[in-house]
Symmetry: D2
Subunit: 319 residues, 4 copies
């Protein structure tokens, strides 16, 4: 029962968590960023957004944004409206923001206060350096926070088409999170808050939302391991590589695959074949195009070459 015997300090105040914070701040270029470990992506988005915004303030997102589509009203449950824009290729552009601002002009309408982007996006695209800098500038102009959902940040950074250095993320975002769950960790996301005002009392906020783990060091240990030797990006790179390997394999079979810089592939297939694939492989129907169905393939840290070969063999046989 003496201190420093078998037990680690609980509630995120342990050495592993502090070390992971330092590593993450270094990589992402925010020496004074405060890092908080949370269990999942929806939780991270909800806890952060509802803490940063008051109820009359809204967050701008693409129609396809995770907070708009796949969080079962978690953001609205926390009291905030998601203000949607169409964007392009899953991304938001400065002109989208201008349009929202032009429409929300008085106290009878939600006051836009934050821009939410995902990188890589929900459809696998990535932001360029130029695009991120332009968004930051536009956010400054309208006094908006810029928040990046990094559930798939590893995939974005390790994409062959990426020109964004990790350290740029910390420079342009008021806050962002580094996704663990979708990048091979058991659970956990690392939320980094750069904007000091938004980090005030944040452990209270986490507890208030029921999001604090007693043995929070579990998350600290995971991220420490992920970042001390670059394992985080290794996993992400392999995941991307498998998607590219699958893409090339399908193109060799003359299958129509949309171009994608990361680990999500969208493939239009004949209805019958598509339904057979969905039944046997872990994938899902993305869109019904009438004569064809678009299938979404997502490779993960578990996907091996043999898995891809197996799928390609199946596709070849089916032709």
């Amino acid at each position: 029962m003496r201190y420093s015997s078998k037990q680690i300090e609980p509630y995120g105040l342990d050495g592993h968590s502090l070390n992971a914070e330092r590593l993450i701040d270094d990589v992402f270029g925010c020496p004074n960023g405060k890092v908080f470990f949370l269990a999942g992506g929806t939780q991270t988005n909800m806890v952060f957004i509802s803490s940063a915004l008051k109820n009359h303030e809204g967050v701008i997102s693409t129609v396809s944004g995770h907070i708009n589509v796949h969080e079962t009203s978690a953001i609205e449950g926390g009291g905030n409206k998601v203000l949607t824009v169409n964007g392009k290729n899953g991304k938001i552009y400065p002109e989208d923001i201008d349009m929202v601002m032009a429409k929300h002009i008085d106290m009878h309408m939600t006051k836009p206060k934050m821009v939410y982007i995902s990188n890589s996006t929900e459809i696998g695209t990535i932001y360029t350096k130029e695009e991120l800098l332009a968004l930051r500038k536009k956010c400054d102009e309208h006094k908006l926070y810029l928040y990046m959902d990094g559930a798939r940040l590893g995939a974005a950074i390790t994409s062959k088409e990426n020109d964004v250095l990790p350290c740029l993320i910390g420079q342009v975002c008021d806050a962002f999170y580094v996704g663990g769950t979708k990048n091979g960790l058991l659970l956990g996301e690392a939320l980094v808050i750069n904007n000091k005002a938004l980090a005030r009392d944040f452990r209270y906020v986490i507890k208030n939302k029921g999001a604090m783990l007693a043995k929070d060091y579990l998350l600290g240990i995971e991220f420490e391991e992920a970042f001390k030797d670059g394992l985080y990006f290794e996993i992400a790179k392999k995941t991307n590589d498998m998607a590219q390997y699958l893409k090339e394999g399908m193109r060799a079979l003359k299958i129509d695959v949309e171009d994608s810089p990361t680990n999500q592939l969208f493939v239009a297939l004949e209805k019958e074949l598509a339904l057979r694939i969905v039944k046997e492989f872990q994938t899902e129907i993305w869109e019904d195009k009438g004569d064809k169905l678009v299938i979404r393939f997502v490779t993960s840290f578990l996907t091996e070459k043999e898995d891809v070969d197996d799928l390609l063999a199946f596709l070849k046989k089916a032709q």
Copy 2:
């Protein structure tokens, strides 16, 4: 200090409120409807929707719906997501509902649970009997509540194009409100809840949301007066008539006015003229069409023939 001297029973339990409830239930065809008087439209929408829905349940509305555009996130502040559809002419159709249902299929997405319609709509259009019956049928199919925002219900019912008897409203809606504020009352809306389960503990809900007035009988008295001799519809009819009178006057001047069955008119005018009008008359720019600006004129219970003539004279002179 004896009872039944000068003071009226507070908190909505007085004779005027009970009488107004009976009158409204009679007119709108819901003999067992529970009527609750609230101060304004946004409050009514927020209190009812947040009471009827749990946080994971959402309400379907047109993009132009008042709850989506003009309530400063009140619905989201109450915890619920507004699921938008484009609809047509400000109205929702069964196929819009089917589309929302087809997209929201599992626990990772908001569960649609209510359809919100406005009658007349935010752009002055009205629902037909056939349309309302079709919506009711579609709501039954998907187990959705049907809720009508009647801020402008008087204008809808007294429109020359209307084929909806007031008593149909009570038959098709789980709940609806009869707007007072926009129909000449000092303040107040009468929320009618037909679906018994949704009325449970509703006075507690009103108090919990800070929406209970001590001297609630003020609202009861207003609605008693409005409905005991048909004054409510008289006011609405006059309002519509003034809009039609304005429309005809403008058409005589060859001005391009969109057709409208109620008290809102949308008129495309040369930019310079439009800006002069907005400066001198109570109106607003609705849309910028490049070469022209669309102005929205709303007649009210205060609009007299001379007011319209004054505006028409101004327009004539400007030509």
Copy 3:
């Protein structure tokens, strides 16, 4: 339809409201206070507290405080915990605050951030100048907001025992409200926010909570009338006077009345007599003391001398 004809500017931006704001700021000694008119007391408390505090922050109140007992969880519905202290005579003292602060020391507990006091209190007592200054000092020490519920502020200020000048209220409170509903107005409370940071975007907040009236000028006109010639305090004084007149009358009848500086009297009576009174007069059982029942008499702006005489005659006859 021209401007400045019959219609008054809606949503609280009219001349009456602005004039009332100036009058109230003058009386209560806060030249830069922002005044917002709301419909009722619970609404005012809920809208202000939920706007000033984040969800992990709590508000200190006596056990008997209106926000703790008579608001149907409106404060909690807005997301905030009421941290109760016993206090003394319905009032909070600096040592109560110290006790709460000593217990709430880390992120696993609610963070106290506001002190809520009522003046006069829920049992008719009033704060002295010395007590208010001591509370302000204690709040500064612990970085707490001081908020006064003035539903009965008129009764406090016009009490014969009062030594608090109205202008002290504005000096010691971050915010307070001047009660209209309990002081003869049809409806309405005037919330005064002195702490500039707490007034930011407050009209958005009001709208977001469904608390904005379209014809808000109604409240502006009421308060303008109440404060332009001192009517507000005249009404309050008369109310207090009637209570004192009743107290003296009862004491002449040897009835045991607790001392009270304002318009609430607590009287212990034999059970049978008490029940007869509750049946015939507008009053309520406050406490069951076994052999006796404590009855609470509240005089109002409607109470006339004859009403009191009528009650005294009844009591005399019953002896």
Copy 4:
């Protein structure tokens, strides 16, 4: 990427979770109970209570209840008021409930709707069979839900003084949770909902509150292991045994230890000694009694005999 290769079904729908559900339902006597795995105790309390209650409904708890003291307003953040009673020895009795019901009688006050008890309680006491049956009866009388916080349920069940069979828990409670975090698991609590109406759409609720883990099977696996061979109770029993061993050791040293049936011990010690202990051992000051300080010792699954001996040696030396 084929199904049933390396990946387990995500989001709590896997075989381990289903098996754990069956095991827990068997042990606790609720064959139709729905089991949901959540990450921590505060989260479980908040998600369940805010789902079961509407905002005007409150939950009755002892003043010392975890939801009242140690959850940073999570329950209030979810919209619900905690209605406190003093209780006795950390426990609630039927007469406490009657008192709350007698005070909350109309729409101006929170409507009591749930009773929250902890077993073992926050101070280590446990409920008897008779007490639980009496609470169930009282809850039925007033139409209240009975919910048990079982963060320390293992300690309660394996206490030498316990007369409650596990299967009684399922019979008397509408819902309860079986604590993992405080009983040796990495993370996780198993919420069991017996009352079918309260389980409706509960996965949506979990997701809406940000409480769903993608790899939820982690919790399923933990609870499967904990319950398949009785490991859960073994751990709890050892924990209790260590506390009893410590108690006896301290009594042998004539130290004044309060009696406790589980793994929490409250010991009054001289100030100076108490402070030395708090510095060297994992414990905390519970209460300042002026001349003495009360220290709270909590044994855990990590506490070994040598740890206790070490502490006892320290105490002996200090005498």
